[in-house]
């Protein structure tokens, strides 16, 4: 193999099955980090608009579990199981995300909280270890996005009804 110098071997090993999502939040990172540490916080923002959660068990510590059900806006329930593998306040949280204890399809996400002036850059890096796992995540998130579609349809429907009511 010719070495051209443009290759980053470590990155190319996972680049095709890795997703990185980042966001700058205008708040100190201690506060952003805190929003991950308790159910009363998590239940206020976890999932897209219209989603709610019901928690069965929650323990924010290494080897602790968050066992919950996520309710989609179209009434679909999703079993969720999160296992915290690393907690380094206020810098980093590593978690395994699956549907049940010992889920062979669980995948790992690393959340990093970086100071950005007075704000915080939060980065979520998810690596899917196998093709099978990735495909299943694709299917699941497609289903969830399907729920989003339903919500959009409902909004259109409700708006139409309201407008009709005004016109009558």
């Amino acid at each position: 193999m010719a070495v051209t110098g443009r290759e980053a071997p470590e990155q190319s090993a996972t680049a095709d099955r890795e997703i990185v999502i980042s966001r700058v939040i205008d708040a100190p990172r201690e506060l952003v980090f805190e929003a991950f540490t308790e159910v009363r916080h998590l239940s206020r923002w976890w999932g897209p608009e219209g989603f709610t959660t019901t928690t069965r068990a929650f323990e924010f510590r290494v080897d602790g579990v968050w066992d919950f059900v996520m309710h989609g806006p179209d009434g679909t329930d999703y079993q969720e199981w999160i296992f915290w593998t690393e907690i380094a306040p206020p810098e980093r949280i590593t978690l395994l995300h699956g549907e049940s204890p010992g889920d062979p399809n669980a995948f790992e996400s690393v959340l990093t909280f970086l100071p950005d002036g007075a704000a915080t850059r939060i980065e979520m890096r998810t690596v899917f270890p196998t093709k099978k796992l990735r495909d299943e995540a694709v299917e699941k998130y497609h289903a969830i996005e399907g729920g989003q579609q339903t919500l959009g349809n409902l909004a259109v429907y409700v708006t139409a009804i309201v407008r009709k009511g005004v016109e009558d």
């Binding site: 997703i19 708040a27 506060l31 923002w45 897209p48 995540a137 497609h142 996005e145």
Partner: protein, 113 residues
């Protein structure tokens, strides 16, 4: 086994860094194989082999122009990649929107305390 998967699955096809480089080069427009090979510092048979894989997963198309064969991008094959990343990304982008809103509320509440 592995060969079969590479030629039928777009995710496996683009796992190869040189194939991704070919796709990047083709974004600028149609190119013949010898130009692609030269630019990437690989042999022409090597480039042809990669192009064959990319064609099989419908990431590139080819057409004859005189003695040459020209290759261009075929976006149909990229759709599953795009849909996959968008579904997951949208889920988290929307969660982070809500996280942002919630943290702003927390910040206000803390100021009052």
């Amino acid at each position: 086994m592995a060969r079969a998967a590479t030629t039928s699955d777009v995710f496996n096809a683009i796992a190869e860094p040189q194939r991704r480089e070919i796709l990047v080069l083709l974004r600028a427009g149609e190119r013949p194989v010898n130009e692609l090979a030269q630019e990437l510092g690989m042999t022409q048979p090597g480039a042809s082999k990669h192009l064959r894989v990319l064609r099989q997963v419908r990431l590139v198309r080819d057409r004859k122009a005189g003695k040459q064969r020209l290759y261009c991008l075929d976006a149909r094959g990229l759709r599953p990649v795009h849909e996959f990343t968008c579904g997951f990304e949208r889920f988290w982008n929307e969660s982070f929107d809500r996280l942002d809103g919630y943290v702003q509320d927390l910040k206000q509440a803390r100021k009052k305390e």
